[in-house]
Subunit: 254 residues, 8 copies
Amino acid sequence: MNQANLTLLLKQLKDGSKTIEEVQNIISQSSVAELGYAGVDLDRAKRCGFPEVIYCQGKSIEWIHGIIKELHQAGQSCFGTRLEPEQISELKKVYSPIEIDPLARTFWLSGTQVIPKIPGTVFVVTAGSTDLPVAREAYETIRVLGAQPELLVDVGVAGLHRLLKHIDRIRKANIVIVVAGMDGALPSVVGGLVDVPVIAVPTSVGYGAAFQGVAPLLTMLNACSANVLVVNIDAGFKAGYTAVLMLRQLQKGN
Amino acid sequence: MNQANLTLLLKQLKDGSKTIEEVQNIISQSSVAELGYAGVDLDRAKRCGFPEVIYCQGKSIEWIHGIIKELHQAGQSCFGTRLEPEQISELKKVYSPIEIDPLARTFWLSGTQVIPKIPGTVFVVTAGSTDLPVAREAYETIRVLGAQPELLVDVGVAGLHRLLKHIDRIRKANIVIVVAGMDGALPSVVGGLVDVPVIAVPTSVGYGAAFQGVAPLLTMLNACSANVLVVNIDAGFKAGYTAVLMLRQLQKGN
Amino acid sequence: MNQANLTLLLKQLKDGSKTIEEVQNIISQSSVAELGYAGVDLDRAKRCGFPEVIYCQGKSIEWIHGIIKELHQAGQSCFGTRLEPEQISELKKVYSPIEIDPLARTFWLSGTQVIPKIPGTVFVVTAGSTDLPVAREAYETIRVLGAQPELLVDVGVAGLHRLLKHIDRIRKANIVIVVAGMDGALPSVVGGLVDVPVIAVPTSVGYGAAFQGVAPLLTMLNACSANVLVVNIDAGFKAGYTAVLMLRQLQKGN
Amino acid sequence: MNQANLTLLLKQLKDGSKTIEEVQNIISQSSVAELGYAGVDLDRAKRCGFPEVIYCQGKSIEWIHGIIKELHQAGQSCFGTRLEPEQISELKKVYSPIEIDPLARTFWLSGTQVIPKIPGTVFVVTAGSTDLPVAREAYETIRVLGAQPELLVDVGVAGLHRLLKHIDRIRKANIVIVVAGMDGALPSVVGGLVDVPVIAVPTSVGYGAAFQGVAPLLTMLNACSANVLVVNIDAGFKAGYTAVLMLRQLQKGN
Amino acid sequence: MNQANLTLLLKQLKDGSKTIEEVQNIISQSSVAELGYAGVDLDRAKRCGFPEVIYCQGKSIEWIHGIIKELHQAGQSCFGTRLEPEQISELKKVYSPIEIDPLARTFWLSGTQVIPKIPGTVFVVTAGSTDLPVAREAYETIRVLGAQPELLVDVGVAGLHRLLKHIDRIRKANIVIVVAGMDGALPSVVGGLVDVPVIAVPTSVGYGAAFQGVAPLLTMLNACSANVLVVNIDAGFKAGYTAVLMLRQLQKGN
Amino acid sequence: MNQANLTLLLKQLKDGSKTIEEVQNIISQSSVAELGYAGVDLDRAKRCGFPEVIYCQGKSIEWIHGIIKELHQAGQSCFGTRLEPEQISELKKVYSPIEIDPLARTFWLSGTQVIPKIPGTVFVVTAGSTDLPVAREAYETIRVLGAQPELLVDVGVAGLHRLLKHIDRIRKANIVIVVAGMDGALPSVVGGLVDVPVIAVPTSVGYGAAFQGVAPLLTMLNACSANVLVVNIDAGFKAGYTAVLMLRQLQKGN
Amino acid sequence: MNQANLTLLLKQLKDGSKTIEEVQNIISQSSVAELGYAGVDLDRAKRCGFPEVIYCQGKSIEWIHGIIKELHQAGQSCFGTRLEPEQISELKKVYSPIEIDPLARTFWLSGTQVIPKIPGTVFVVTAGSTDLPVAREAYETIRVLGAQPELLVDVGVAGLHRLLKHIDRIRKANIVIVVAGMDGALPSVVGGLVDVPVIAVPTSVGYGAAFQGVAPLLTMLNACSANVLVVNIDAGFKAGYTAVLMLRQLQKGN
Amino acid sequence: MNQANLTLLLKQLKDGSKTIEEVQNIISQSSVAELGYAGVDLDRAKRCGFPEVIYCQGKSIEWIHGIIKELHQAGQSCFGTRLEPEQISELKKVYSPIEIDPLARTFWLSGTQVIPKIPGTVFVVTAGSTDLPVAREAYETIRVLGAQPELLVDVGVAGLHRLLKHIDRIRKANIVIVVAGMDGALPSVVGGLVDVPVIAVPTSVGYGAAFQGVAPLLTMLNACSANVLVVNIDAGFKAGYTAVLMLRQLQKGN
């Protein structure tokens, strides 16, 4: 509840259009459905302009059903990430118009609220083939949030010509997301070739001293290109989400 | 050299307005001043719209003088970060209109090129007092790059009312930079209260199990708020720089 | 054997009511049942006021049966933690009035000794849904030790209103246990809102740079709120146990 | 501002004893003195019953003076920790009745508010001689907060008889703080000998694989005694502070 | 080949009892059976007084058969450690008089050479029940090498009386092996109670911040008792082997 | 595209033998087959003299088929590493003259291009039996790239005579690859005995504090022999590949 | 107090030769001088046969004087380790017949009690020159405890002939201590050449990925030679002390 | 002593031209000057073709003088690395024709033996200015060992055009050494542009999550370019030394 809402409420109290009890209830009441195992935010789409997101890993199928039900009743769309294989087959059975991307491990269930389109494009590039699932998670996130993703796969720095061939297209994007495991060197190189923010996503791809993504994470944090920002290992969703947040600045432009 | 420039060059070759040797020279020639100890990029302001930045730590004062001289001759402004105390006193002696912020450890030498103003604001908040030097580095970076920073100090989560008191002002910013050491919890909280990108900067402030910034770095990478991006430990410059890049999207807006 | 007991024994020896051999036996004899694979403390409930606790993970079902049998014969209750799925089904078959909480992975077998009630309340809160098993372990521990737990789930700092809505109830508790994975930021925030001890339990929930609980562990150790104490990763039992120990101070009050 | 205060304010608004603007001001206004480099909490003693604490390390002497001045004007006592040698000599010069413990690296400046006495005792024990500064920080914290500390030095587990000799005295305390570096084994042993909470403080004493306190920190987190809670490396203040919070339960007892 | 053997060979060459070729062959020839996947030392029992040891983990059953066959033909006994379950059932089928300890995961196949008895005793103690497999590996190692092991289980420092009850027996041993996971505090305590070498074996037992044995390993390396030596995590074999080497000093005594 | 090629193209443009569009296409066009999940380099054999290599781990069988198909159509040989068991059986079914080494986990499919023979020899030695798979990966790499590998297994430093017996043969090689897990000490020793480059490959063999290859990796990076170079943990392919690159210098010799 | 002493005391009580109070005093009384900053063990030489050892690092010169004074009054010798330079010059001034080894950073002050000679020899070898201070600490420890050390410097594995030249002398020792930094490979090699226990001491010598001794520590823990035991980084004293404990077995021999 | 030398010796013994004692002396005697603090290899230049190298860090000036003296008397050149500032000024005073490179921290003292020239070139490139000292150490090493180094500074991947401008020159080298701190991405990129071995040297340059060279070290170990080999952090000497060893293959070519 921000200052503006508080002023309104206090005015309503003052002029008698609301009682003390009513105001108190409004203030302390919140749009959270408390299910015992989860507190579902039912106002999120209204408040943030974005649908609620369910991180599915480690949640029982009963919990996921319960959360979807609450969101559905509130007319909200919902987006799920980190689906486990059994969850995918279970969700397919129950929700008929559900969109599932098995590589990205995401699902999308459209609610009654329309997601507004967001201008601008985000380029998602990967260093290798096995970075693709994380890149697809970012791609799907951008897509369901209403923006326009593009995807380019397997352009790691060991064969620089593969990247340079596409560099003019990449330069036209408003944001670039770079997904890389192993040496994690691609964001540094892409960062030096574009003048927009680069969101680097380390992946747990690789072996030995890659340490499940620690090596590319450190590389990216130390990127010598000053326009590189970093998210957690394998955090395709967060990369996509923050990219869309940046695009929204375009709508605010003069 | 992008596709457009290459096309132009090839056309000039074709129509005889340039010889083969001239085209080859242009392609292989670059605007880098090679000093033996540094390759100074003399086209950067033209190319990126931003002045060159000198990372001063570990460089001898002779090297810094040499780099400044090259940039000066090319009419470029230059911005220096991570100044060591002896470097500060040395620079003060030599360059009369230099702007030095000893807390931020930065200097600014204006060139002949004017830095264009960039719309929008960036709010820089710190968890504690001792995070201030890193926050000031971000602040100075934003300022010299032509955007508008605001600064709020010591609003860590242990006293949430200190932050909430200012939350309406913070919510008006286009980007929020959060600087925190120790537990690094502030970006997660701020991230949940605003709907713009949050750039989290871990600092090496703290003791014991803070491990010179590792603890807040990990906290920030794992921030449960989906709008939190992370830069390197103590990387105030990078936070400021990427924030300004995001603001430039405002100028691209419809 | 403390000073008081020793004095008594020596007096009995002096006045002839005990022989040298008897005294020696009492001193060297102990109430430990030695089973070859375990030394079971049969005096614990008498000595500490609490039943014995069996850490089940990695123990064969034969070992668990053997330990339960010894405790049963001594009239003691016993509480088991970290049950593995096969152990659960095995225990269900054998012990009819056993209480098993599959989410908490605990069992409780009541002995002939009554566990006295302990005044005061402990509030257990979790940052996310997947922290629930660890929180339930703490909850069950508090319950079987005779105190009064309360539980609030999924009130992480990304949606601060979910926590603030309940803050008055939380403030009434004597102790607060905060269970969180990922960024582990919740204890710092709760710590700033209450003036009682906060026991922080990092969980291995999360991915990437959460490193199976290392990230929230470090966050909690560095909590900027001065009232935050930490236990091991996923250590719901220890959190519950120490909370009850603190509550016992209430009984000692003037 | 809790529910009770809010109700009162709303009632005053309703009955006309306060205007909308007044209520808004009260809500958004806070008792934080904002100094540019620090936000000083002027209501803390009133709210928590404890004086404000200044973490001095890394703060300039000007900053410390500024903070003390604000607290002094508000009638508050203040307690400083982690004093650096130059800060000690500077403070000695300026504040005449200041109490400085150079080993603990703390200062205490009494304000007009009297700190109420808190019943119960806390036993502080150290494994070695070089753990003494951290133990003294805990000791001073307990003392200035109004409770009764006792101190026992150099009773590490390599000579168990040194500890056992004093065990009856230790068992009488309400809380035991154990300070240890190197192997950090003492809290596990003390924890097995007492039935009250044990607060374990790892210290950065030791060499080689002690890794500046990491080794004892891990030992303590894994303590096999269930009554051991852990704070950050060298965190004598936090240990003392949480111990006093636990003692306050005594006052709440029936 | 040591100096004495070389002298002999050279003398034989000099006096003509051996040809140049013979001497060369003896020097370059060695008693290693080269199997392509392993080089089996066939002289070991003769040279060291101990049978060959096969580390079975990761070896195919064909490799193990091949190595056993070579040793058998050379009349050597062989001792196998780290048996995997499928290896156990396979070995049971093939070698009739084989001794397999499934808890220790070892096998013993007696050759024609008799292992001489070694005087003195080694006490193996464990902190918990789940440390037993590693302790049994040490126990079996000591036994097959001809010395006398004793075993005491579950006497961790959380219940010091369990250890103290047996301390007089432990003090009579020539060497003490202490096996512990979790906090790894037991070797420090035992080390302070005996005046013989203590070999500490960290185990991967535990959870959370035990990090698969890193925590007890660090504890043991930092043991404040000066008589504590350390071997690798779960290295029961190495502990048993080095203990027997120390006992052999008894035979060398005056 | 190097300077020489660029000059040629520009000349062709100048003399009219190529149009602007043709030159542009050649420059931006590349011999990369873009499959959506992989960018396959079809010019590699021509450019580097070596066939393309497919890192199979984590790739679906469909992806592998697709990549092989592209290479086959381009007449290229292909070499696959890190085969998973299901991939092996799948590949065996489809490609009749395929060479699969199940221990090395590699496959080799000969194309129409002949791989030229490379002079010189590489000696691959392992410390233990379980290092053999990694050594075989190196061996196969050397073999398919046209050079001559030799292999010596299980000559770790615990039995130095096993190594010394073969040292004269090893000294004749042009390059030595040393594969070792556990203590990783063998490269230091071999490095001291030969005067050619030694490529050290740490393996994830071992237990406890070997930390899946971290221990031998660190040992090798710190090797006191100055001729030791290091590759990633288990990186048999990279060791073999770089060894062959070094051998190619022989062909460049006068 | 062991069982035998307790029996005696109880008998004296029974027969009236001691009163209850006398017995109680004896039991609870101990020979520890409690100085506030240290608990000095005054019975150690009597109990263990060895003089007390003072770890000087981090202790004030006043504390060291105090401890020496107590030991002196009890007629004990004392041995100090980890002397800091200022401590050395201070001690030299005060104690006239003190023996100080500045390289080993130790001092020795002889008391009235004679240290008995211990049979057998310990060979101390170092890999490099800069390992010498740690080796000297071990050497001095062995010497003052009454045994016979020998020292061989700079025989690291990069030049194996330097070691092999002396191997026959080394093989005659009862125990070998190997001190090494960097790759820490020497203990593995020495361990394979001798059949007595090898005590490995990692040193913090080296740079880069030696990580202040972590690399050699891990190497040594993973030594493939089964007779290698490990102590803490730079722990020359502990290596010397445990070696002497092993030698004492010689005296116990039949 | 290899097989050939042994055969010769044995023949001389057989034919009476050498006595048993003479042969024994030759075998056990070695060309190592044992100075107590160092074993100086006096045959190294003869055996390896290279002068002896002194790692100066941590050695006293007396030790360095002693070692130089021994080498001088044996007619050997000597090369010193890791000079500390005081050592530089001390050496300058004593040895008149000494060559000291203060940036590389090396010295070179020419002996009577001439170092033969080695064909081929090594290109040393650095990512940044502050990597220059390590690069100079490599450069000097190559130079004094008789080969031809070239140096290119500050061509990091953030400004790829700086590197590409020189790529044709780099491609002509036989070996490329890439020195980089921070993200360590340059070797991956250079590796993809050349087809010779690339030796990657991580430097401790950088801040925060660069962790004194750990970040670039991991990047380089995980380099996706297959021709990248790695040496220790800041190991300029080792990079130069191994590069020269590779060049020597050129001399062995047909």
